[in-house]
C-alpha cells in the first residue's frame, strides 16, 4: 500500500515540541533515512554475486506493479508490488530484494506523483520515505524469513517453509501499514488514525496481505521453471493486478456512493432533528463536511431574512473558530458569488478568484467553494481553504455538493419556518397589542399605552402616535415613547415632513436612510434616527391618525415590517375609533344629562328673573367654567345685562340692568346677527365692560352663545373659559348651546305667559269698557262713563274725548275727566279745526296712537292749549270705524318722564276702538231710525201713488182694455191713465218718469196732474203733450223728465190719435198678425222747450191690438243678464192675435216672469193693451 498524497496537516502537540517541522514530515524523514541506511549497510556486508539483469527485470516489474496500484481512499493506494518485492527477496536475497523494493518503490512513487506543481522537496521526501520504508519492510521480512528457517534462494520447497513465508509476509504487511498509520496519526490525529484503519485495512487484508505468500510461487517459478513459463507467470501477475485494480475501482466507487448516501441520510436525519435552528443546521453541515474533507479554514455563510444581510454561523479560520464577525473579505466573496452561483474547486493560488484575501494568516493554495442555492438563488456559501495545494479533490467537491444541496434545502426550509415563525410571533404581538389597546377606553391612556406597547414589543428606537383631522388639515401629537417629546409635544405641519405627508396622503411612507431624505424632519430629541416608517391609521378609508416608527439603524424596515405595522395600525385605528366613539357616547350622555337637568330646572320656573338666575347658576355647575353673563336684546338693537355669576355683587351691580347701546359691543352684535356660537379673546367683550368687571380677568377666552327662541335671537349667554383649557371644548359648547336654547325657550314661554296675562288683563279691562258702553242707554252717557274709566284703567292723569263733526270738518270737545279746572274750558264744547292744531292734523293722517312729550308739546299744540294743559306727555288715539274718523281719545300724564307702557297703550287703543264702535253704532242707529221713518214715508207715498192709478180699465163697448202694473221699488216712476175726454174719446196715457223712488213718484204725480190738465184743455195728442212739457218746464228744477205715449181713441170710429214723447214705441198688431211700431218723433218732456212732437193718426180695425208698455217690460233681465227685448214681446203679441186683451196681458206678464225667473224687477213694469173687438 502506498499513498498518493500526503494527508492534510494539522496542528499537534508533537509539532509544537520539535519546532517548525511537522511531526509527519519528521517521521517520514526518519523512516526514509533509516531505510536508506539499511540499504547501504547491505552493501557493506558480505554478499553473493547478483544477476543484475534479473534484478533489473524485477525492478521494472515492481515499478509497473506499483503504477498499476489502486487508490482505495483519497490518500492510500493498494497494489501487488509486495508479491514482486518478496519474490525478489526469496530469489536474490536481502540485497537484491532491497534493490528491487527501493528502486521499484521510488520509481513508482515518482511516476505516480504526476502533478507538475509539486515541490521538489515534497517529492524528494516522498521518494525518500517510500524507498526507505520499502527497504525496512523488506529487511524485516528477510530477517523473519531467515529466522524461521527460510532458505535463500529457495530450495526444497515444502510445508516447512510455510511459517517462514507467513512470517515474512506478516512482517512486510505490518511494517507497511504501521508506518502509514503513524503518518496519518501524526498528520490527522486520532481521527486520521481511525479513518486510515477504517478506510484501508479491509482492502489491505484481501488485496495486499493474502497475495503475499504467492511470492514463493513466483520465486520458485523463476528458479525452477523455464523462462517462457516465468514470463507467462509474470504476465499473469500483471493481468491479475489489472483486474484487481478495476475491481477495486468499482468497489471504491460503490463504497463511496454508499458512504455518500449514508452521509446524506445521516445529514438529512440530523437536519430534521435540528429543526429550524440555524446554528444547529450550520453545525451539522460543518460536521459532515469535516467528515468528508478536512480543511484548516471552513466558513459557512448564510443569508438571513433581509436580502443583503449575510451572517457566518460557522467560521473557522486556520483551525481557530471565530467568535466575532468574519473579515469583510468574506462578504466580498459572498457578493462575488451572488450574481452567478457556481461550485468552484481551486487547486493552487494561481487560480484564486479576484476578490480580496480572506484574512488567512497563511497563504492559500487550494480552495473549494460550494454555493447553497434554492432555485438558482444564492442563500449561503460553504468555503474550504487550505494552504496546501491540491488539498481538495473532485471527490470532495462531489460529496460536498450533496451536502450543500441538503444544507441549502434545510437552510431554506429553516428560513421559511423562521420567517413564518417571526410572522406568527409578530401577528401574536399584533394581536396582543390590539387586545391590550382595545381594552383601553380613555384616549390619552390608549395613545400612551400604544406607543409603549409597540416599542416594547417590536423594540423600535422611537414610537409616536398622532391624530389627524382631515377636515381642518391638522395633525395633533398624542403620545411618544420618548419622555422629552412626550413632555413637550411636537408640532407637525400639514403635508410637511414624513408624518405630515402620510397624514395628508394616507399612504405609508418608508425611509430607510432618513439622512438622505429631503422630506425627513429631524427632532433634536431623536438624534439617532436613521430609518423611519410612518403608517396612517385608517378606519374605512378615513384617516384618523398616524403611527410613526423610528429606528436607529439604516435599512431597518422592510416589506415585512410594513406589512406588520399596517396590520398593527389597523388594530390601533379601530381601538382609537372605538375609544373616540366611547368618549363621544360618554360626552353625549353627559350632555344629555346636563341638558335634562337644565331643562328640568328652567321648566319649573315661571318668571324670567328666576329663569335667568337659574341659568347663571347652572352654567358653572354643568360646564365647569367660572364666569358667565346673560344679556337680553332690547327693541332698539341694544342689550341689557340681566344676570351673571362669578363676579362680585359690586361688579354685577355696576353692570346689571344697565342698557348697552346698539353696536357698542361688536361681538354681541355679531352673535345677534349671525345667530351662531362665537369664540373670541376676552377683549372682544370685556374691554367694553366697566373696569370693575374686567379688572381681575386673567388669561381667559370668551364664548358667546345666542339665546334663540323661534328662530330669533333674544339674548346672548357669554362665558369666560380659561385660555389653556383645551379639553372638552366640543361637549362644553354643546351643553352651553343646549342650556342657551332651554333658557331661550323658557324665557320665551315666560314672556308669552306674561303677555297672555297682560292680554287677559287688557281683555278684562276692555270687557269692562264694552260692558259699560253696552249698558249705557245713550252715547252721551257711555262717553261720560268711558272718559272716567280711561284714567283708572290706563293710569293717565286725565282723559278727554273729541268728536269729529263731519259737516263742519272740525273736532269738538265732547267729554273730559280729571283735567285741571283751568283746562276744562278747553274741552267744554270747544271746536278745533285740524289746521289750527298740528296734533289733530297728524291724527287725521294716522291710524295709530300718537304720543308727544317734552318740547314736542309746543310743536304740536298751540301755545295757549299747551300752557293750559300743563301736561308732560300727551297721547292721542284716533277713534276710527271702517277707516272713518269719528273722533279722538286724549290722555295726559303730568309727571315728567312717565310714559304709557305698551300694555296700557293697548288698553287705550282698545278703549278707543270700543268708543269708535259705540259712536258708529249710534250713528247707524240714527240712520236706521231715519230709514224707518223714510220707509214709512215711502209707504205713504206708495199709497198716494196707487191712488193716482186707475184701479181698473174703463168699459167701452167694442173695445177691450187690459193693464198690468208692478213697481220695482216701493214707489215707482211709471204710470198709466185713462182720461175720459168726452163721450166718444178716451185718452190713454202711459208714461215713465226718469229715475225711481220718492222723487220719481212726486214727479209722476206732478206729471199726472199736468197731463190731465193739458188733456182737458187741449184738443190733439201732440198739443196736449206740448202743453204738458211747458207746464213741466215751469217747475223743472231737479233735471227730471218723463217719457209719455198719449193716444186719443175715438171709440166709435176706431181712430187713434197719438203722440210719443220719448217713450217706448207701442206695438200695433193688426188682426192679420202684422205688427208695427208706433213711433212718431218726439223727445221726453221736461227737458227741452220744443220736444219736437209729431202727432200720428192710426185707424184701428176690428181685431187690431195696440200694446203700450214701459222699458221695464222689454228691459227685464234674466239670470244670464239678457234682456227680454222688443223682439220677444213682438213675437208674443203677434202670435196671439185672437186672444183677448186680458189674455194678451197675462201672456206677456207670464212670459216676462218666466224670463226673469226669481230675479226681482229691476224697473217698473207697466203694460197697457187695447183691442178692438172683432165684431166692430
Amino acid at each position: 500500500m502506498k499513498t498518493s498524497q500526503p494527508p492534510v496537516s494539522s496542528p499537534n502537540r508533537l509539532g509544537n515540541i520539535i519546532g517548525s517541522l511537522p511531526a509527519g514530515v519528521l517521521f517520514k524523514l526518519c523512516v526514509g533515512l533509516l531505510g536508506w541506511l539499511g540499504f547501504a549497510s547491505l552493501w557493506v556486508l558480505p554478499r553473493a554475486t547478483l544477476p543484475l539483469q534479473d534484478v533489473a527485470v524485477f525492478v521494472l516489474l515492481s515499478t509497473g506493479t506499483k503504477c498499476l496500484g489502486t487508490q482505495v481512499s483519497p490518500h492510500v493506494t493498494h497494489s501487488l508490488v509486495g508479491v514482486i518485492d518478496l519474490a525478489a527477496l526469496y530469489i536474490f536475497g536481502p540485497l537484491g530484494g532491497a534493490i528491487v523494493a527501493l528502486a521499484g518503490g521510488s520509481a513508482g512513487r515518482l511516476l505516480r506523483l504526476r502533478q507538475p506543481t509539486a515541490s521538489w522537496h515534497r517529492t524528494a521526501l516522498d521518494v525518500l520515505f517510500t524507498g526507505g520504508l520499502n527497504v525496512l519492510m523488506l529487511l524485516v521480512a528477510a530477517w523473519c524469513y531467515g529466522a524461521l528457517g527460510g532458505s535463500i534462494p529457495l530450495r526444497n520447497i515444502g510445508w516447512h517453509l510455510f511459517p517462514a513465508i507467513v512470517a515474512a509476509s506478516l512482517a512486510w504487511f505490518s511494517i507497511d501499514h504501521l508506518c502509514w498509520a503513524t503518518t496519518h496519526l501524526l498528520d490527522g490525529g486520532k481521527a486520521g488514525w481511525r479513518r486510515f484503519w477504517s478506510d484501508v485495512l479491509p482492502y489491505s487484508l484481501y488485496v495486499e496481505l493474502l497475495p503475499l505468500p504467492f511470492a514463493v510461487l513466483l520465486g520458485a517459478a523463476y528458479l525452477y521453471l523455464s523462462p517462457p513459463v516465468l514470463v507467462l507467470m509474470l504476465l499473469a501477475i500483471l493481468g491479475v493486478g489489472l483486474i484487481m485494480r478495476e475491481l477495486m475501482v468499482s468497489l471504491v466507487e460503490e463504497r463511496r456512493h454508499v458512504r455518500e448516501l449514508s452521509t446524506l441520510n445521516a445529514l438529512g436525519r440530523s437536519l430534521l432533528e435540528a429543526g429550524p435552528n440555524l446554528h444547529a443546521i450550520c453545525g451539522l453541515v460543518y460536521e459532515h463536511c469535516r467528515q468528508i474533507v478536512e480543511a484548516p479554514t471552513f466558513v459557512l455563510q448564510v443569508q438571513s431574512g433581509q436580502e443583503n444581510e449575510v451572517s457566518a454561523p460557522v467560521a473557522i479560520i486556520d483551525g481557530v473558530p471565530l467568535t466575532e464577525t468574519p473579515p469583510e473579505g468574506w462578504r466580498d466573496l459572498y457578493e462575488w458569488m451572488r450574481p452567478a452561483p457556481r461550485e468552484l474547486l481551486l487547486s493552487d493560488k494561481v487560480e484564486m478568484p479576484p476578490f480580496a484575501p480572506l484574512g488567512n494568516k497563511r497563504a492559500i493554495s487550494s480552495a473549494l467553494y460550494m454555493p447553497l442555492c434554492v432555485q438558482e438563488r444564492l442563500i449561503g456559501l460553504i468555503s474550504l481553504q487550505s494552504p496546501q495545494p491540491h488539498a481538495f479533490g473532485e471527490d470532495d467537491r462531489k460529496a460536498l455538493a450533496l451536502v450543500a444541496s441538503q444544507a441549502a434545502m434545510a437552510l431554506h426550509t429553516a428560513g421559511l419556518y423562521r420567517r413564518e415563525q417571526e410572522r406568527s410571533s409578530q401577528l401574536i404581538a399584533i394581536a396582543e397589542v390590539g387586545r391590550k389597546v382595545a381594552a383601553i377606553l380613555d384616549l390619552a391612556t390608549l395613545f400612551r399605552e400604544t406607543v409603549a406597547l409597540v416599542r416594547e414589543t417590536f423594540g423600535y428606537y422611537h414610537v409616536s402616535i398622532f391624530t389627524v383631522d382631515t377636515a381642518q388639515q391638522r395633525v395633533a401629537f398624542q403620545a411618544s415613547s420618548n419622555p422629552t417629546i412626550q413632555a413637550r409635544g411636537t408640532v407637525v405641519p400639514w403635508g410637511l415632513g414624513l408624518i405630515g405627508r402620510a397624514a395628508s396622503s394616507g399612504d405609508c411612507l418608508l425611509v430607510n436612510d432618513v439622512l438622505h431624505d429631503a422630506h425627513f424632519v429631524a427632532d433634536t430629541a431623536l438624534k439617532e434616527t436613521r430609518s423611519e416608517l410612518v403608517v396612517p391609521l385608517k378606519v374605512e378609508q378615513r384617516i384618523v391618525g398616524v403611527l410613526d416608527l423610528q429606528s436607529d439603524r439604516e435599512e431597518a424596515f422592510g416589506e415585512q415590517d410594513l406589512f406588520v405595522m399596517q396590520a398593527l395600525a389597523d388594530q390601533i385605528a379601530i381601538a382609537v375609533e372605538d375609544s373616540r366613539l366611547y368618549r363621544a357616547q360618554q360626552e353625549q350622555a353627559w350632555v344629555a344629562t346636563a341638558l335634562f337637568q337644565a331643562a328640568e330646572a328652567v321648566s319649573q320656573l315661571g318668571a324670567s328673573e328666576e329663569i335667568l338666575a337659574t341659568i347663571v347658576r347652572l352654567v358653572p355647575l354643568l360646564t365647569g367654567i367660572n364666569r358667565c353673563l346673560v344679556f337680553l336684546c332690547c327693541d332698539d338693537e341694544g342689550f341689557i345685562t340681566v344676570d351673571g355669576s362669578g363676579w362680585s355683587n359690586e361688579q354685577l351691580g355696576a353692570l346689571k340692568s344697565q342698557p348697552i347701546k346698539p353696536h357698542t359691543i361688536p361681538l354681541l352684535v355679531r352673535v345677534r346677527a349671525e345667530g351662531m356660537i362665537l369664540h373670541a379673546p376676552r377683549s372682544a367683550l370685556m374691554d367694553f365692560m366697566p373696569p370693575p368687571l374686567s379688572m381681575d380677568i386673567a388669561n381667559e377666552e370668551l364664548t358667546a352663545i345666542p339665546l334663540r327662541a323661534k328662530g330669533e335671537v333674544i339674548g346672548v349667554l357669554a362665558v369666560l373659559v380659561p385660555a389653556d383649557d383645551g379639553g372638552g371644548v366640543g361637549h362644553r359648547d354643546t351643553i352651553l348651546t343646549g342650556i342657551a336654547n332651554q333658557a331661550a325657550m323658557a324665557l320665551d314661554n315666560a314672556r308669552m305667559y306674561a303677555a297672555q296675562r297682560e292680554e287677559a288683563w287688557v281683555s278684562t279691562a276692555l270687557l269692562q269698557v264694552a260692558t259699560v258702553i253696552s249698558e249705557e242707554p245713550s252715547l252721551d252717557e257711555a262717553l261720560t262713563t268711558v272718559v272716567r274709566l280711561a284714567p283708572l284703567l290706563v293710569g293717565m292723569d286725565w282723559s278727554a274725548i273729541l268728536l269729529w263733526d263731519e259737516e263742519r270738518d272740525t273736532f269738538f270737545g265732547a267729554r273730559q275727566y280729571g283735567m285741571a279746572p283751568h283746562a276744562r274750558s278747553l274741552m267744554a264744547g270747544q271746536y278745533y279745526r285740524p289746521e289750527d292744531v298740528p296734533l289733530l292734523m297728524a291724527l287725521m293722517a294716522s291710524t295709530q296712537p300718537l304720543t308727544i312729550q317734552g318740547d314736542e308739546m309746543d310743536h304740536y299744540l298751540p301755545p295757549e292749549i299747551s300752557r293750559a294743559l300743563d301736561t308732560c306727555s300727551l297721547t292721542v288715539v284716533p277713534l276710527r270705524a271702517r277707516d272713518k274718523l269719528l273722533g279722538a281719545l286724549v290722555g295726559g300724564l303730568t309727571e315728567e318722564g312717565k310714559v304709557i307702557s305698551g300694555r296700557r297703550m293697548n288698553i287705550l287703543s282698545g278703549m278707543a276702538y270700543q268708543i269708535a264702535l259705540s259712536i258708529e253704532t249710534n250713528q247707524l242707529y240714527q240712520q236706521t231710525l231715519a230709514q224707518e221713518r223714510l220707509q214709512r214715508e215711502i209707504e205713504l207715498a206708495r199709497d198716494i201713488q196707487k191712488s193716482f192709478l186707475p184701479e181698473c180699465c174703463p168699459e167701452m163697448p167694442g173695445w177691450q182694455l187690459a193693464m198690468a202694473y208692478r213697481a220695482a221699488r216701493g214707489v215707482g216712476g211709471d204710470y198709466y191713465d185713462f182720461i175720459r175726454l168726452d163721450a166718444r174719446r178716451l185718452g190713454l196715457v202711459i208714461a215713465d218718469v226718469s229715475d225711481k223712488g220718492v222723487a220719481a213718484a212726486l214727479y209722476m204725480a206732478l206729471s199726472r196732474t199736468v197731463m190731465r190738465a193739458a188733456a182737458i184743455s187741449t184738443a190733439g195728442a201732440a198739443q196736449t203733450l206740448n202743453q204738458m212739457n211747458r207746464l213741466l218746464l215751469e217747475d223743472a228744477r231737479s233735471g227730471m223728465f218723463v217719457s209719455v205715449f198719449y193716444a186719443i181713441l175715438d171709440v166709435e170710429s176706431g181712430t187713434l190719435t197719438c203722440a210719443r214723447a220719448g217713450h217706448n214705441p207701442p206695438l200695433l198688431v193688426r188682426s192679420d198678425g202684422h205688427t208695427d211700431s208706433v213711433m212718431p218723433p218726439g223727445a221726453v218732456l221736461g227737458i227741452l222747450n220744443d220736444p219736437g212732437l209729431v202727432e200720428e193718426r192710426i185707424q184701428m180695425e176690428p181685431g187690431d191690438v195696440l200694446v203700450m208698455y214701459t222699458d221695464g217690460v222689454i228691459e227685464a233681465i234674466n239670470e244670464a243678464e239678457e234682456e227680454f227685448g222688443e223682439e220677444r214681446l213682438q213675437s208674443i203679441v203677434s202670435g196671439t192675435p185672437e186672444s183677448s186683451a186680458e189674455v194678451c196681458v197675462r201672456h206677456i206678464d207670464a212670459a216676462v216672469r218666466a224670463f226673469t225667473g226669481e230675479r226681482p224687477l229691476f224697473d217698473d213694469f207697466t203694460l197697457l193693451v187695447i183691442k178692438r173687438d172683432s165684431g166692430h
Binding site: 220695482a968 221699488r969 216712476g973 215713465d992 218718469v993 226718469s994 229715475d995 225711481k996 223712488g997 218746464l1033 215751469e1034 223743472a1036 228744477r1037 231737479s1038 233735471g1039 227730471m1040 223728465f1041 217719457s1043 214723447a1061 220719448g1062 217713450h1063 217706448n1064 214705441p1065 213711433m1079 218723433p1081 218726439g1082 223727445a1083 221726453v1084 227737458i1087 227741452l1088 222747450n1089 220736444p1091 219736437g1092 222699458d1111 228691459e1115 234682456e1123 229691476f1162 224697473d1163
Partner: protein, 114 residues
C-alpha cells in the same frame, strides 16, 4: 249753440262701464260731479263699455250736461254703442247729449226753472 263737427278735444275722459241704472247712477253722478269740479272744459263720457242705460242714467247724464253747460263746458258722449244710441234716439235725447261723431242735433236745454 252749435257744436257742429268740431273735433273732440276733451280735457277729461269719463269711462262709463257696465249698466247705468237707478242703482249705479247716484255713484256715477257723484263721480261726474267731482270730475266736473276739476275740469270745466270738455268732458268726454266714454260709453264704449256701457251695456245698459236707464232713465236714471239718462237723468244723471242730463244733469251733468246741464252742470257743464252752466260752467261753459261741454259733455260729449263718445263711442256710443248702437243699443245706447237707439235709446237716446227713442227718448229724443240725442238732440241734447251729443257725440263727437255728430249723430245728434245740438239743442239748448231748458234752464232749470225756466
Amino acid at each position: 249753440m252749435s257744436m257742429g263737427q268740431q273735433p273732440c278735444e276733451p280735457s277729461a275722459v269719463f269711462p262709463l262701464v257696465g249698466r247705468v241704472d237707478a242703482l249705479t247712477s247716484p255713484a256715477i253722478s257723484a263721480r261726474l260731479d267731482a270730475l266736473q269740479k276739476v275740469h270745466r272744459g270738455t268732458i268726454c263720457v266714454d260709453m264704449a263699455q256701457t251695456t245698459y242705460i236707464s232713465t236714471s242714467g239718462l237723468r244723471a247724464l242730463l244733469l251733468a250736461h246741464q252742470r257743464q253747460q252752466t260752467t261753459g263746458g261741454r259733455l260729449l258722449l263718445c263711442s256710443v254703442p248702437a243699443k245706447i244710441a237707439r235709446v237716446l234716439h227713442m227718448c229724443g235725447l240725442d238732440r241734447i247729449l251729443q257725440s263727437p261723431e255728430g249723430s245728434g242735433s245740438d239743442e239748448d236745454i231748458s234752464a232749470p226753472g225756466q
